[in-house]
Symmetry: C2
Subunit: 95 residues, 2 copies
């Protein structure tokens, strides 16, 4: 009945990040920071964890002289997100 929820995704900030990336495919660090209303420190740590899980790729380059970090969802990330949603629905569709 209550299957385990993927602990990587069962975190408010990581879920928000992956949710965003599932729809936009790729985004800048600063965009993710604004959209999720998180601190840079927290976001930095969390995207590393999502990357370590293989759910996103992180590319670092420079844009207009400033460092730029771009995150892209991977196929594994999309799959994990969909699976998470599926399982989560068993929790919240009381019945």
């Amino acid at each position: 009945m209550f299957k385990d929820l993927d602990p990587i995704l069962h975190s408010q900030l990581r879920l928000a990040v992956v949710s965003l990336l599932v729809s936009v495919k790729e985004a800048e660090f600063t965009y993710l920071r604004e959209q999720t209303n998180s601190t840079a420190g927290n976001l930095s740590v969390q995207i590393q964890k999502i990357k370590d899980a293989g759910y996103i790729e992180i590319e670092k380059k420079f844009k207009d002289n400033y460092p730029q970090t771009i995150c892209k969802i991977t196929p594994a990330g999309i799959k994990a997100f969909e699976e998470y949603v599926k399982i989560l629905k068993q929790y919240i569709s009381k019945k």
Copy 2:
């Protein structure tokens, strides 16, 4: 866009417990333990937290000579669960 998820409910075990209680209204400790596949220790700690948040009531009595702990959902608990689900859907309905 990403409103905060109630931290009391954003925990696998606590969410499962409240989800169960929303549908059955009240349940024994042992029933919750079986349904959620949790250890007694963890369940004991988590239902206390849910109670401290005012989402459930805990009644202790004896049944057939054994201690019996019964958990009941409160109106605040139902409201919190519904609000949690509402907010969560903003996270998972990628768009």
